[in-house]
Each structure stands twice: as C-alpha cells, then as structure tokens.
C-alpha cells in the first residue's frame, strides 16, 4: 500500500469547507444546471476540487477530488472539470492564494456579455469596494477584466496569466461566468459576494439611467 502524496486529514477539512460553501452558493442560484466548480489549496503541489458535472445543490465529500497544479487527477479515477487548469494556475503562481471559486450567476453572465466589448467592468465610488483585500477607501476605481470565452482551456489560461501581473481578485469570461479567489474560503467568499453585488449594481444602474 503506497502512501498518498497529500495529507488526508487536510483533504477532509478542505473538502468539508468546499461542500458547505458549494451548497450555500447553489441555494443562491450561482450554479445553474450542474455548472461551476470550486477548489482549495492542500499544499504547494495539490488542490482539492469539485468533480465535473455534479448537481452543486446536493454535493457531498465524495464529489471532491485531488489534482496537481498541472490539473491532473491524483490517486483517483475521477475526472476533473475541463476548467481545472484555471484553478491550478492561480495556486501555482501565487503561494498566498488558498481558494478559487468559479460561478455562473445570472448577473455574472449578463455583465460578461454586456461589457465584453469594453473588455472590463469598472467599479467606482462604491463603499463595498473596501471588501476587496487591500482597498481602504471608496475613492478608487477598480476594473474587472472580461475575457472572450474559449473551449481551449490552455489558451484561456495563458490569457489569464497575462492579466495576473497586476493585483487582481477575479475576472469574467464572456457568456460564461466569474472566477474569484482569496487567501482562504472566507476571503474568497467575501470577494465573490462583493463582485456579485457590484456587478448587479452596474447592471441595475443601466436600467435606471435613461
């Protein structure tokens, strides 16, 4: 019997955090039709991530698998999502990223289509911008990049990598959804909440200003 290349207790702890958060996000409508995936760092070579194609509203611990930072399955016959590489590229490059959340809410999808032409959504003069790590005033503008959608994930990953030279807590993919991250689950959830809220504000303001 070979030893696992990761700490099984840590996997159990992280998998539980992912299951709880996923069910909460499913209940909020962020994961329509088995979409979306969620991960947490295990160590400097492995991450725990949701298995592809499961109903996120009734996820359990068996629906979490381990991958290495090239997105390959580790010690499992389960298949990871095609988008696993978009999670692991973040863990690989930034040691202080501990959690990545990819969701498909209605307003993320709408904003990604509406602002695809501009290439970004700008948040300006919102108190809630202080929810992002490192922001301590509302008097700044913050741009969320919008990338074109692409079924070839390595291409998408390369485009994301080019954005990561500047501080960033998330990006949109056109007609697809949002990636958001943070140091741990609480941090990533707070960033996801703030993105969802501010994207919704931007969409609603467009309906209100005539």
């Amino acid at each position: 019997m070979t030893a696992l290349p990761y700490d099984a207790d840590r996997l159990h702890a992280r998998a539980t955090e992912i299951v709880v958060a996923t069910r909460e996000l499913a209940a909020l409508g962020f994961t329509p039709a088995t979409s979306s995936n969620f991960s947490m760092r295990l160590d400097d070579r492995h991450a725990a991530i949701t298995v592809s194609g499961r109903d996120k509203g009734c996820l359990c611990e068996d629906d979490i698998m381990v991958v290495d930072f090239d997105g390959q399955p580790v010690a499992t016959s389960q298949r990871p999502s095609a988008e696993t590489l978009l999670h692991t590229q973040l863990y690989k490059r930034f040691p202080d990223i501990g959690c990545v959340l990819h969701t498909h809410s209605l307003n993320q999808t709408l904003a990604s289509r509406l602002f695809a032409g501009a290439g970004h959504v700008r948040f300006e003069d919102y108190e809630l911008i202080k929810a992002f790590r490192g922001q301590d005033t509302h008097e700044v503008a913050m741009d969320v990049p919008v990338l074109p959608n692409n079924q070839h994930i390595p291409t998408l990953a390369a485009q994301v990598d080019a954005l990561l030279d500047n501080p960033l807590w998330g990006y949109l993919i056109e007609g697809h959804g949002l990636y958001a991250w943070g140091a741990d689950m609480a941090d990533a959830r707070r960033h996801l909440d703030a993105f969802e809220f501010l994207l919704t504000c931007e969409l609603e303001m467009r309906k209100l200003i005539r």
Copy 2:
C-alpha cells in the same frame, strides 16, 4: 383481485422522485396557483403523472397517478390533467425519454409571449448551452420553439409532434409555460434549469441593451 398492469414498486420509486422534484420546483416559484405537471416513465406503456389541480408546494405520493400512453387513467378513479397527452406523446415516440417536466415560471411565461411572433427563442454564445445533452461547445446557436396556446390538446400535441423530427429538449407555449424533458429526472432537471437560466438571460439582455 386482478394484478396491476404496471410494477407497483417502480411506481413508488418514481412517485417519490416526482414528489421531491415538484416540491423543489414549487419553492422556486415555477408552479404558481396549482399549475404545472410532472411525469416519469414506468415502462413501455405507462407513465406516472401528477393529478390535476393540486398545490404543488405540498404534493404527496397520493397525488401521483398512472396513465397509459394515450393519456388515459389506469387502475385509478383520479383525473389526470388535460395536458397529459403532451407528456405521453413523448414517451410513446422516444423510448429514451424517461421524464417530462411542465412548468409555468414567470420568465417562461414572459419569454413565450415576447417571442411568440418570432416563433422561437435563440440561444447563442452561452457556456451554459453545454448543459443540454449532446452540446459540447458554446459556439452553436440553439432555437427553442414557441407554439401558440390552444385549449384543444390533441391539436397542440400534433403541432409538437411535427417539431420532434429534429433533436429537441423542450418548447414553450405562448402565455402558458415550458415543456422540458430528458432520459431521467436529473437529466430533465438539468435541461429545465438551463432553459430557465437562458430564457432569463435573453429577457434581461433586452432590458439592458438600449
């Protein structure tokens, strides 16, 4: 005592699945004012279906009855919905359809009215289109037919039948609601979720683009 023409254990299993799904869909607001009906295939001649006119938010197993594929009640004095034929025509023609969900959400109703003139709603460039069985890229367009409403169900069924020569996972009826289906409950639910999400996207984009 005559034997039942269907498997009672299978009926119990399917009825439980229908009850659970119906309560979830009712909680989402998909079944206003006792509307909507839900069915699952039992075998190559029978289906289990919700009894007409019940509050879908507190359905129980007694509210599920058996019909044959001509929409006639089997071994029961309960009355099926007038629209039963729109369920059974699918089971009769396609052996691999196992579940049919008919809902009346707000956005299904709105989209059915708004796009009745065009005769269809087009989904284009959405990642979520991959939720439909057989789609593996967002780079396709998918049309959802919109039929005129009609109190004469055989006429409506004939119009639906003419659409089924091409692959299809659902259609709208004007001012009425959506029919969606799949191989089993999970499949049909995923399709229903995806229709609801994408119809809502199309409606919201029309409010946002001025």
Copy 3:
C-alpha cells in the same frame, strides 16, 4: 360565565389556518413592515381576523381575534385593523366567501400606482387565468379594478360594494395593495397567487416592450 357567541373549536381551526398562511405569505415578502391582514369566516355573523400592527412573520394564534360583520370586536379587548370592514362586507354580502386575504407585495403596490389612471389592470391570453374559479379557457380578458386610496374606510367599502354586482375575485387600492378572496383558504390562496403572478407579468412586459 356567559357562553361565547361563536364556536370556539371552529375559531381554533380557522386561526391555525390563518397563522400558517400568514407566515408563508410573510416569508414571500407580501406583508412588509407589519402591514396586511387576513381573515376567515366562522359562521353567518362572525369572522376570525388578524389583530392590527403585528409582525406577520411571527404571528401566533393569540394574534387572531373575532369580529362581527360590522367590523366590531366580539368577546375580546383586542383592536381590529381599521380595514376590517373591507373583509366583513364580503362575508356579509356573499355566503359562499370563506376567506379574505389583504396583502401589500411590491408588485401589487407598483401595479396599483401604474394602472390607477386606467382604473383597472387587464389580463388577456394567459393560461393562468384558469386559476380563477369559473374560468376554463385562456381566451378571455379579465379586468382587476384599481380603487383610489382613502383613509376613510366606510367610503372605500361603499366603492367596493358598487363593484361587487359583477363576479370578482379581487381588487387593488392605489399605492396600497390587493384584496383577494375565495370559498376557503386554498381557493383564496390560489386566487392571490394568480393575481400576483399576472400583475408581475404585466409589469415585466412593460419593461420588455420598447
């Protein structure tokens, strides 16, 4: 010790029905800021009704009182809502009305203001119109009256009375909310659900058609 002029067991049964329905409607956001009131017929002289000014989200049986059909409290020191007369006038005139639900949802308020000039909201070509008792086709138009708001309830009651010569299951008061009713709680709830759904459809269609 004098006997009560109504059946205490029946009061208990009706009060329980009112409490359950009220909490459900509160959870749906139909009773903002302690507004709204709900009643059921006890016999040909008495009705049970919610006490004024309570938070509808945590109502209990003690928050239900008895009034006669002139709106006066019976065998209690509790104070009924000023609008009690709008409930009892329906029980007094129509022996087959068993339940009256008065709610203040956002869309009821919006529709009442938007259509106050027209004096009614018209529902046309909706399948859900069949939820109203007596309707068996979508091919009819149905008008919901909108009355001007008035703090003098007897005046409002007289205006309502003039509308009741024609079959009616509900009306709006401008900037205020909806009255809906039926033979029993299930009937009144189905009518309320249908009004809410169809009013929301009418509002959303106005946002969608440009």
Copy 4:
C-alpha cells in the same frame, strides 16, 4: 476584580436580539461581503454593537461588543467599526432611540446613487408610509436625505447631526447604504422594512414609467 460599567444581563439580552435580527437581515441580502453594522442602547452611556468585519450570516454573541457614546470600546480588546460614531451620536442626542440598523442592500445602494444629485428621495401617496412612527395617513410626502459618502466619519457625523433638528427615522449615504433607527428593535426593523420597500418602489417605478 473591577465591576463592569454596564449591566451584563442587559448586554446579554440586547446581544441576543442583535444576533437574531442580524442573521435575518443577512439572509435577506442586506449585509453583502461582511458589511453593515447593528447596535442597541444599553443605558444612558453605553451601547452594544457588532464587531467590525464579521460575516453577518453566522454572527454569534461573541461578535457583539460594548462602546460608550463617543464610540470608544469599553472593557474589551475588540475593535468597533469605524462607523460606530454614526450609531452613538443618535443614542447621545435622543434618549428615546434604542436601536440603530445600518445596512447595504442592493436597492439602498442604487437609490443612494440615483438620488444623490437631488439630495433626497421623496415618498408620496404610499399606504406603507404609515409604518413610520407618527404617520397616520398616506396623504403626506416624506423625504429621506442622501448624504455624500466620506471616509472621515466625524465629518459625516456632523452632517448627520445637522439633519436631526427635524423628525427623521433614517438617511442614505451615497454608494454606501442606509441608517435606520427606532425606540427598540421591532420599531427599527419596521422602519428599515418600510424604507427598503419604498426605495424599491421608487426604483421600479422609474423602470416602468417611460
């Protein structure tokens, strides 16, 4: 061992009230991304208030601390929110204010931005205006002030103080959220509910009137 300068039993009672209300408001989406804070008066020198930066959806009694009316922590090493002064200035000036609720709902944020130019939002001809203490008819207009946002809280507090010469139950801060208050928790919650409902009405009417 020194005695606490406040009544510990009263703190326990008020903290419980705050925890329950906060969780309810979090579930309604009023506290995105750890924002918002809530307080109750303890006596004529102290108030209980939520600790800064906690997730309001899973608050517990340990997340409530005591401050004096200059906003300074009392008998604790916990850090209060920077906005504590906007709570305590109300307790200091008005002995009959017992509860202050500061929330960041989507519609509060949208209304604060849309009406920042006008400097106020006007409520007119709404029955629900009677939810505010002292209003007994819908036939009045009520203005909710909108202040510019400012990271320097003493400046903001001074601007609020200038508004308090007239009867007031709440105000908005641009791009930020709402402050609402009352004699006790029930009173403050009813006012908050009414503000949220009426602000949403005003926003929706702008979408409906073309």
